[in-house]
């Protein structure tokens, strides 16, 4: 088990050094950055580097972001106690450590949800979003009165980390087939419960 030994050395090593970069920011500014960062972790936008370009260099910024990601994921994913988090933080000064703990407490549930979502999406292709438009074809070049409803379904897929959009148009029968297939799948899921 080579990986195990590698893990344990890394655990308390570089991570806490990177976290120490946080001390460059004043403790009053710190909570804002942390909360914006957690926003990013939960699927919204991360804080912008431009706003902090005077505090950190690009490399430092990247390392800080990485280590913060690590920290929050580990702390929330393992339901660590305050003490354990303190250990992870190493010798970070107390004001900043407090800020991190505060933020962690406030956002624990939200981060947990985000992590659960991440775990849910472990298959190679996942559905990110879907949208539909219903269209009524009133007539065609052959028929003056067609009156056929058509569904335009667009799926936003994430295939191996790459966004891909799938669009399809279905008439009533095809839609019924799709819905019955989905319902059958849902039944299987319900049986698992």
């Amino acid at each position: 088990m080579t990986s195990a030994s590698a893990d344990s050395t890394e655990e308390s090593g570089p991570e806490s050094i990177m976290i120490k970069l946080l001390e460059k920011l004043s403790p009053t500014e710190c909570p804002k950055l942390l909360h914006r960062f957690v926003d990013g972790l939960c699927g919204r936008s991360y804080p912008r580097r431009v706003e902090y370009s005077e505090v950190w260099s690009l490399i430092e910024w990247g390392e800080l972001m990485n280590s913060l990601t690590q920290l929050f994921r580990v702390a929330v994913g393992r339901m660590s106690s305050d003490q354990q988090v303190q250990e992870l933080l190493g010798d970070l000064d107390s004001a900043h450590a407090d800020a991190i703990l505060q933020c962690l407490h406030a956002r624990q549930e939200e981060i947990r949800q985000a992590l659960v979502d991440r775990t849910n999406g472990m298959s190679s292709t996942q559905l990110q979003d879907f949208n539909w438009q219903i269209k009524l074809a009133l007539s065609s070049d052959k028929l003056s009165s067609l009156n056929t409803p058509l569904l335009n379904l667009s799926l936003d897929l994430k295939e191996n980390g790459i966004q891909r959009a799938v669009n399809m148009e279905m008439n009533k029968e095809e839609l019924h087939t799709l819905i019955s297939a989905l319902e059958a799948a849902n039944k299987v899921v319900l049986q698992l419960k």
Partner: protein
């Protein structure tokens, strides 16, 4: 009559008759128009009746006659009571036509009034809405994009160009998070750091999408929970929290089982060993009560929490990649050397691997055999131990009896007394037990009954609750339906043409009614006047008769004595007779006057019937028929 005619003409136009604008009353109706109106009405009232006849008068006289006959028959079939025949249509007179048309118009179905009670079909509404929208859009002129007002943008731009992308939002009030007391830090976060929801998503365009998505997910979660709670949760008689925790435990167990079965070691494939080792690690961490520190040293990157929030850390993959990379030779030798070396190494390694796997299999087989034999041996051992302890017991008993043997008599007596004592004690205890038992059993029964009662009650209440739930849902649905109907009716009412004719009609009707009332009053007044006059006349006649009789008697008495009085008696008689004649004459004049008036009225009605023109027409038609007949006869002769 004008009012009636206008209504009649309006109704006939609605039924589909083409009536000219300058036709104002029934008097102006020609035979063609009458036939068309009647046929159209018949078609609307009963399509089976009216479809056989044409709306226009044919040129041939006999065909006209036949058409009139069939129309008259159709009207009688509908239930028209008045006089009707072919002459009604061909040689019309105003009152007859008016009564016939009134009858037909009354028979017209009032479908519009009935149809509006029902909500119109959804598809019809949709079609109407689409038609209205398209009409409105067609009415707008096309404008170049730079000149468009917001009004035009909606209809003339090619539609929204951004796609529907949702992002998770952070809201203080959420169903996902339990609504219990929130920690101080959370409140602080809400107060100071939480952005307004409109600026939370990274793109402004995805605000509505995100909000909708958030709402929908919470709504569906709440609905699902409610459904489940109503169908299964209530029956389990647990509090919601208990039910949830029980379900969670069940699910946890299930997933564990699944993973365990999937992680059964399968030595046949090489690739599987890696994954199974991962899985066993996972299982260890999963079922284990290991502390956090343990997990850290173990290095498994799977953590578990109450709700399986095990997340795979990305660095795990990174480490594996790094391990793979370090395995690669990093020397910069020539490629061929490298390749040869690699191949040699590869084959070597493969050989080693095969050997190792063969060894592994062998050792595995040995282990399996050994475990089986260990099982067998341990079973044997257990059996031996059992038999051993049994034997020890028997040895003890036998030893005691051997000890007692020397002083057998005394010991026997002692034993007997002991046995008796214990028997008595047993009886005593049994009676005591009985004493205690009876009330306890009673208590037990009572409690059981109570329990079953409670259960019944609770099940009754459960069913009641279910009923109530159903009712609530039903009434909500009904309310929704009613509301939509109400809305629809309101819109329909607003779109209806604000016709003044209706109010005018009602005003007119009210006026007519009041007129009729006035007339009735007058009639009663005149009647009472007449009665009074009659009475007066009767009274006067009676008085006259009596006065005449008395005078007659007195004068007659005196006339026997006096000659001059006799003369006056004669005058009296003559006067009386003349007066009677006069009265008679006046009465006769009255009756004659009345007769004259009747006759005048009759003349007027006869004049209204256009007799002369009709007669002329009849004569012409008669001539036409004779001509037709002669022509037909000539044809026969020729043929």
């Amino acid at each position: 009559m004008e009012e009636v005619d206008r209504i009649l003409i309006h109704s006939l136009r609605q039924a589909g008759t083409d009536i000219d604008e300058d036709v104002q009353s029934v008097k102006q109706f020609t035979s063609e128009l009458i036939v068309e109106a009647v046929v159209r009405c018949l078609r609307v009232i009963d399509p089976g009746l009216g479809s056989g006849v044409s709306t226009t008068l044919p040129p041939g006289m006999s065909a006209r006659f036949r058409l009139g006959m069939s129309l008259a028959q159709a009207c009688q079939d509908l239930g028209y009571k008045g006089e009707i025949g072919y002459q009604t249509f061909l040689y019309s007179n105003e009152p007859e036509i008016r009564s016939l048309l009134m009858f037909l118009v009354e028979k017209l179905p009032r479908e519009s009034a009935e149809a509006s009670d029902q909500p119109a079909g959804k598809s019809a509404l949709l079609q109407k809405a689409i038609a209205a929208q398209i009409k409105a859009q067609l009415a707008l002129p096309w404008l170049p994009p730079s000149c468009r007002l917001p009004l035009h943008c909606k209809t003339q731009s090619p539609g929204p160009c951004h796609s529907f992308r949702a992002q998770p939002l952070s809201l203080p009030y959420s169903l996902k998070a339990p609504s219990k007391k929130q920690a101080k830090e959370v409140k602080e976060y809400w107060r100071v750091h939480l952005l307004p929801v409109t600026s939370q998503p990274s793109q402004h365009a995805s605000v509505p999408a995100s909000l909708l998505e958030n709402h929908v997910s919470e709504l569906s979660a709440a609905q699902e929970w409610e459904n489940e709670w109503n169908s299964q949760g209530l029956l389990s008689r647990l509090t919601p929290e208990d039910y949830r925790s029980r379900k969670r435990a069940r699910l946890q167990k299930r997933i564990e089982e699944q993973l365990r079965t999937a992680a059964q070691p399968r030595p046949d494939t090489h690739g599987a060993t890696r994954s199974t080792s991962d899985l066993t690690e996972l299982l260890n961490s999963f079922g284990g009560t290991a502390t956090g520190g343990d997990i850290l040293t173990k290095g498994t990157r799977f953590t578990h929490s109450e709700k399986f929030t095990f997340t795979q850390e990305p660095e795990k993959a990174a480490q594996q990649m790094a391990a793979a990379a370090s395995a690669l030779p990093s020397s910069h030798q020539s490629e061929e050397d490298l390749k040869a070396k690699q191949e040699a190494e590869l084959s070597d390694l493969q050989q080693q691997l095969q050997q190792l796997s063969v060894q592994m299999e062998e050792v595995g087989g040995d282990i399996r055999q050994l475990t089986v034999s260990i099982h067998q041996v341990s079973d044997e051992l257990k059996q031996r131990e059992l038999s051993n302890s049994e034997k020890q017991d028997t040895v003890k008993v036998k030893k005691q009896t051997i000890d007692l043997l020397p002083d057998a008599e005394n010991n026997l007596v002692k034993l007997q007394s002991l046995v008796e004592g214990s028997a008595k004690r047993v009886v005593h205890l049994a009676s005591q037990w009985e004493k205690h038992r009876a009330p306890l059993i009673d208590e037990h029964r009572r409690l059981k009954e109570l329990c079953s009662n409670r259960e019944m009650e609770s099940s009754m209440k459960l069913s009641e609750i279910k009923d109530l739930h159903d009712k609530i849902r039903h009434s909500a649905e009904e309310a929704k339906k009613k509301e939509s109907l109400y809305k629809q009716l309101i819109t329909e009412y607003e779109t209806l043409p604000k016709d003044v004719s209706r109010s005018a009609y009602t005003m007119r009707i009210l006026e007519i009614v009041s007129n009729i009332k006035k007339q009735k009053e007058e009639i009663t007044k005149i009647l009472s006047d007449t009665k009074e006059l009659q009475k007066e006349i009767n009274g006067l006649t009676g008085k006259l008769d009596r006065t005449f009789a008395v005078t007659d008697e007195l004068v007659f008495k005196d006339a026997k004595k006096d000659e001059s009085v006799r003369k006056s008696y004669k005058y009296l008689a003559a006067l009386h007779e003349n007066c009677t004649q006069l009265i008679q004459t006046i009465e006769d004049t009255g009756t004659i006057m009345r007769e004259i008036r009747d006759l005048e009225e009759q003349i007027e009605t006869e004049n209204g019937k256009k007799t002369v023109s009709n007669l002329e027409k009849i004569l012409e038609d008669y001539k036409a028929i004779r001509q037709e007949n002669s022509a037909l006869a000539a044809k026969i002769r020729d043929g």
